[in-house]
Symmetry: C2
Subunit: 184 residues, 2 copies
DNA sequence: TCATACTTTCAAATATTATTGAAACATTTA
DNA sequence: TAAATGTTTCAATAATATTTGAAAGTATGA
């Protein structure tokens, strides 16, 4: 009996979702996902909120909707702006700043790719380059395997880097249709 | 003068790197990178250590080399095994378990892609699916924009998911050469 | 079966990262 | 210029995630 009730509650929870619940679910899911991606929860939630918002929102409205502090909101909005995912809007006659998200998914993807490339891939390539020039003429298996690993990794990361450049320049339809042609 | 000395120290640091230093730099860099990717530092360092090691290593050797505790080593080795990046080796006559990493970079990339797809993309698709069925026949701009966002996102994530499937099945040379052909 | 050699678990300690909120700072308007 | 209205900063605090290490668990072989 107990299990039956739990089951009914569960079903009604997923099937009778209204707008407000759907919205909360969306913001929450996006936030959780972001955590796994090394982006912080709040930043992702603000972005998600702006994505589903037809109008640009003020810092106040964002704080209110997500129940977060002024400082937190400010920091993460700024960060979203440096990622080029959100822009500041000044409405004529209003003194307040408003914020609006880029809404095209492929565009979002490309901007995230560009930022991650800059922050992660490029520094790694620099280190790998340095490592390929260690001065050790030992022929021990350790050194040999180290060299081999560094070489393979450099090659791979450098190819991946070029691939990302391609994607960044690509147009969505062209990109996916090219990829899907490759599948056959 | 002070700056000159700092400069010389810096240059000698990057140019006179020997094997031991190079190794530490490699382990450290890989660990840092992993943090940004939502993977923990130790897991990445163990993987890196096994990558540059010509022989399979025991838990003891891993603990020793990375100065980590037994529990930590064990947890992260197990996690690497579930990601299919490391496998257990039983040497005949030895009672101890040894561990060995997959060394082919493209293979590593594919296995990480497979795992992340399973852990991140698929759950998100499930949520998006649910969200596209919210019962709200309001025609408010909010609801309209919400529907639009969910629809676009579903489409994009689903294409990305298929793309990852393609990559997982691909062979390295074929994949990169196809991508590079697209660039022209 | 028991001693031994090894692996796994998990609660507590530690380290890391995110968040708050009040104060400082900046800009606009009367 | 002062008051009003916003924005930004940052030290303190809270929340999360990682790590330790001792104890429990397991498999091996004499």
């Amino acid at each position: 009996m107990k299990h039956f009730i739990i089951f009914v509650v569960y079903i009604s929870k997923i099937s009778k979702m209204n707008f407000e619940q759907g919205k909360q679910e969306f913001l929450g899911t996006w936030g959780t996902l972001a955590t796994q991606w090394g982006i912080n929860r709040t930043m992702a939630q603000i972005h998600a909120l702006l994505l589903i918002s037809p109008e640009a929102l003020s810092a106040e409205e964002i704080m209110e909707e997500l129940s977060i502090s002024r400082g937190n909101a400010n920091m993460n909005i700024r960060e979203l702006i440096t990622w080029d995912l959100v822009k500041k809007i000044l409405k004529p006659g209003e003194r307040k700043e408003f914020f609006e998200a880029e809404k095209d998914m492929f565009e979002i993807f490309k901007r995230v790719a560009r930022e991650r490339k800059r922050r992660e891939i490029e520094p790694v390539l620099k280190v790998l380059e340095q490592l390929s020039s260690i001065e050790e003429d030992s022929t021990s298996v350790d050194v040999v395997q180290f060299r081999k690993t560094v070489k393979n990794m450099t090659e791979f990361v450098s190819n991946a880097n070029k691939t990302i450049d391609t994607i960044i320049k690509a147009d969505e339809n062209w990109f996916f249709s090219s990829i899907f042609k490759l599948m056959k």
